[in-house]
């Protein structure tokens, strides 16, 4: 057993331990924090497994963004005075059989998955073989945009549905009643002035390298979302009641660009979802990044639109 | 007999369907147009049926075929047996429509009522012309669905309860019917109706299965034909308006069941196979039991319509009895009773409805002296009652004659005892009514009723007189060409050469 494996084992054990804590814990806020920790450890595992793209995405989205959304929701509940009204009740009659069954399931899955042997001509191998034809250096981006573009496009649709759905259930309540960090606090203003441009830069970088190296629209979008979240939290931008045309356009940009280009292939006599060239990759990636960022920020802010503070 | 592809069968079916839809769509207020439409459709249908009858008399069997489910066509085929039932329905429908227009004068939701009324005749026509069991089943179910709204028309608690009971029985029966149908299909494939039975030709060596199939389908039919103990819905359904009762009892529902039994025995299994499987005797016993049981129960009813209902239970089984006994003569008896029971029973229900509407008379002990107020209706009722008892020269006698003689001819003499018992019981529960109406003094005040216009009164009395006239005519003129009897004999010749 090498050191690496030992680290892996420790990591795995912590994952299991954390998840147990989260599930069985009593204090919701603490468990939320533990969940974010869990996300970070997962990201670490990704890195250990040699999947930097995923690690990046997990850190930014799985742990960061999800965690932020959860915390925000928790605060909203707490503001309504109901955060911890229902600590996990002990219901052994339910819990014990569920636990037993889940355990059995885990055992079956774990044991049978041991037997999996990699198929030599698996689709993943084919991806590597066919990658050169696409002009992309990063096989993952190749899969996401070229080989299985439809998945990605529909994923953008999922995002749009989440946004539209959230708008639909937004209700008549005033969009923003957040407890806001005081912008005049020195630290905050410093943060704002430095972090915002930096994140923008990182996002652009991630987007651009994504074609050849770890990174891409998702990660870039997540980073950009972080910036947006910050702006919202500091009140630099404020939620608005009605979405303007720009907001809407940005929200659909990723999906629209992908769909438009995907369909336009028909005009060229190609199969739909065929990308006409690298420009299309960049265009789609950019549009997706913007859409993701805007969508997630809006979801975070629970609002239809964002804009500078109005006097 | 040559089969010719012809649109007439489907046209006949569609005429009333379209009329029904149009009537329902017209809405409540267009009363005059509705009446015109009703009568036009009824007359048109009668004309079309006569047209088909003429074709059939020329030896042409019009056929309309349309694929329904794989292996089974929606087959409409107007053979002579179809014509027997179809012409009965068409004639009685016209009469009932006239009656119903008058009777329903003060009811709500008439557009709905007449809409379903017409759809009902659609189903009946489809049943008459069905060329195979599946087609039969389709229209059989349509009939259930179309009659249910009529039964619950008033929407009262009792009506709804009756509707529920009706559905329990009919849908339960049809479930078994369907299973039998499927089984038959699995066993023998597609089976179109053939005179003399299609199954007999196959020489299947599956007697147990065939028996089971017969029983299943016969239960399905037996529910509508009100074979005891599947009859309990019928008396409950009496809460419906009188034209509906007339319809249920005389033309559509019970008759459809009885007609189905005829088809099942004569056209699917065939008399020979039915007898060979021992099913004829079983059915005959069931029918006989029903005949006696229904009559005994009728005797215990003090409500006029309920008494009539139990009488129907008893009378309709004559048809099943005739077909179950087998042999040429009894078959004629069964088939001709299809028509005869129709005209007789519809007369009685018309009259019962008239009594209730005009005088508020619904109970038997309220009938005293009624003939003084409504002599024509009372006369019609009496004629029908005497016919029911089977007294010559009414139509009922002819049926009884053929049934009894047919049973004796094939050695089933015990059937005569059943017929005699039924005759006695019929007399016991009908004659007192006749006697009360004519011979007892009238009360000072009638229980209720309304004083509608002369037209409405005429619309209720004349149809009963017409059918009463038919009751006499079908008996008196039984020996003449084109009488129902003559037609039934012609049919029986096809089946039992």
């Amino acid at each position: 057993m090498t050191i690496g494996v030992l680290v892996d084992v420790l990591l795995a054990l912590s994952l299991v331990g954390l998840s147990l804590q989260v599930v069985t814990g009593r204090a919701l806020f603490r468990d939320l924090v533990l969940f974010i920790l869990f996300g970070l450890l997962i990201a670490l595992s990704w890195a250990r497994l040699g999947a930097p793209d995923v690690a990046l995405a997990e850190a930014a989205i799985g742990a960061g963004l999800t965690g932020a959304l959860m915390l925000m929701a928790y605060r909203r509940l707490a503001a309504g005075g109901a955060a911890d009204v229902s600590p996990a009740r002990r219901r052994p009659l339910l819990a014990l059989p569920v636990a037993a069954l889940a355990g059995i399931l885990v055992a079956i899955i774990g044991l049978s998955a041991q037997g999996v042997e990699r198929v030599p001509d698996a689709a993943g191998t084919l991806v590597l073989q066919e990658l050169s034809a696409t002009g992309l250096g990063n096989p993952i981006t190749g899969v996401l945009l070229v080989f299985r573009g439809l998945d990605t496009m529909l994923e953008m649709a999922v995002l749009l549905v989440a946004l539209l759905g959230a708008w639909a259930v937004l209700g008549a309540a005033h969009p923003g009643r957040l407890h806001q960090v005081d912008r005049e606090t020195p630290l905050v203003s410093a943060l704002l002035t430095t972090v915002a441009p930096v994140t923008l830069l990182i996002a652009t970088h991630l987007l651009l390298v994504g074609t050849d190296a770890p990174g891409g629209a998702f990660q870039a979008g997540a980073v950009l979302t972080g910036c947006g979240v910050l702006l919202v939290l500091t009140g630099t931008v404020r939620p608005r009641a009605a979405a303007g045309l720009l907001t809407k356009l940005l929200a659909i940009a990723g999906l629209a660009a992908f769909a438009l280009i995907g369909v336009s292939a028909l005009a060229l006599g190609r199969a739909p979802m065929t990308l006409p060239g690298m420009w299309a990759v960049y265009l789609i990636e950019t549009a997706m990044m913007l859409s993701i960022a805007l969508t997630m920020t809006l979801l975070f802010a629970r609002s239809r639109a964002l804009g500078p503070e109005q006097r | 007999m040559t089969e010719v592809v012809h649109p007439l069968p489907i046209v006949v079916v569609l005429v009333s369907l379209l009329a029904g839809l149009a009537i329902a769509a017209l809405g409540e207020r267009r009363q005059r147009l509705r009446t015109v439409l009703n009568l036009t459709a009824a007359v048109l249908k009668l004309g079309l049926v006569l047209w088909i009858a003429l074709l059939v008399m020329d030896g042409v069997v019009p056929v309309f075929r349309f694929p329904l489910v794989p292996g089974f066509d929606l087959l409409l085929r107007a053979d002579s047996l179809s014509i027997l039932f179809a012409s009965l329905s068409a004639v009685l429908w016209l009469v009932t429509t006239v009656y119903a227009i008058a009777y329903m004068e003060h009811y709500d939701n008439r557009a709905r009522f007449f809409g379903f009324f017409s759809i009902c005749v659609t189903a009946t026509m489809g049943i008459a012309m069905a060329g195979n069991l599946l087609t039969f089943f389709v229209f059989y179910e349509l009939l259930t669905l179309a009659t249910w709204p009529l039964v619950v028309h008033t929407g009262s608690r009792a009506a709804l309860r009756a509707g529920r009971t009706y559905l329990r029985f009919t849908l339960g029966g049809s479930a078994l019917f369907l299973v039998g149908l499927i089984w038959l299909y699995a066993l023998a494939g597609t089976q179109d109706f053939i005179a003399g039975g299609s199954l007999g030709l196959l020489e299947l060596d599956a007697h147990a299965s065939l028996r089971a199939i017969f029983v299943l389908i016969a239960i399905g039919m037996g529910v509508k034909a009100a074979l005891v103990p599947l009859h309990a819905w019928l008396p409950t359904a009496m809460v419906a308006p009188a034209p509906v009762s007339a319809l249920l009892h005389a033309v559509a529902v019970v008759k459809a069941g009885a007609f189905g039994l005829v088809r099942l025995v004569a056209d699917v299994f065939g008399g020979g196979l039915t007898a060979e499987l021992g099913l004829g005797l079983a059915l005959a016993i069931a029918a006989s039991f029903t005949i006696v049981y229904g009559s005994v129960l009728a005797l215990g009813q003090s409500d006029l319509k309920r008494r009539l209902a139990y009488s129907t239970v008893s009378q309709v089984s004559y048809i099943a009895l005739g077909i179950a006994i087998g042999g040429p003569i009894a078959t004629v008896g069964g088939m001709v009773h299809l028509v005869h029971q129709g005209v007789m029973k519809i007369t009685m229900f018309f009259c019962a409805g008239t009594f209730a509407t005009l005088l508020g008379v619904t109970r038997i002990d309220e009938l005293d002296g009624l003939a003084r107020r409504l002599p024509w209706s009372a006369a019609a009722f009496s004629v029908a009652a005497l016919g029911m008892i089977g007294l010559p020269p009414m139509a009922g006698f002819v049926s009884k004659w053929y049934l009894g003689a047919g049973a004796v001819a094939v050695g089933q003499t015990w059937v005569v005892a059943v017929l005699v018992a039924s005759t006695l019981l019929n007399a016991a529960y009908f004659l007192p009514l006749v006697s009360r109406m004519w011979l007892r003094p009238a009360p000072d005040r009638w229980p209720g009723g309304s004083q509608p216009s002369a037209w409405v009164t005429a619309g209720m009395v004349v149809p009963a007189l017409v059918t009463a006239g038919l009751t006499i005519a079908f008996g008196v003129l039984a020996g003449s060409t084109l009488s129902p009897l003559d037609w039934a004999i012609a049919i029986a010749r096809e089946y039992v050469p």
Binding site: L49, M70, R118 | -
Partner: protein, 102 residues
Amino acid sequence: MTSTTVYLLAASAVFGIGVYGLIVADHILRKLLALNMMGSAVFVFILTVAGVTPEGPDPLAQALVLTGIVIAVAATAFALALMVRMFQETGLTSLQGHDGDD
């Protein structure tokens, strides 16, 4: 025992724990936490089960996981929005009890 196996087993375990949490937990937020952990476990599982190519983990699997993560966050975001609105309307953060169907 390779690290793949370790993560595979861990993923299975977390999946099971997630299922347990999702079913047993009362608070919707906690259910969502469990759900997200289940998701993470499945993603790890995808990668470990798919095996490795000479150039690292199966790229197709990685792409799938990326897609999955975005879908998960989108669904979570919507679920949270729904939860908050529901809380505002009903004051409830749990799905226990009747739906008001008599």
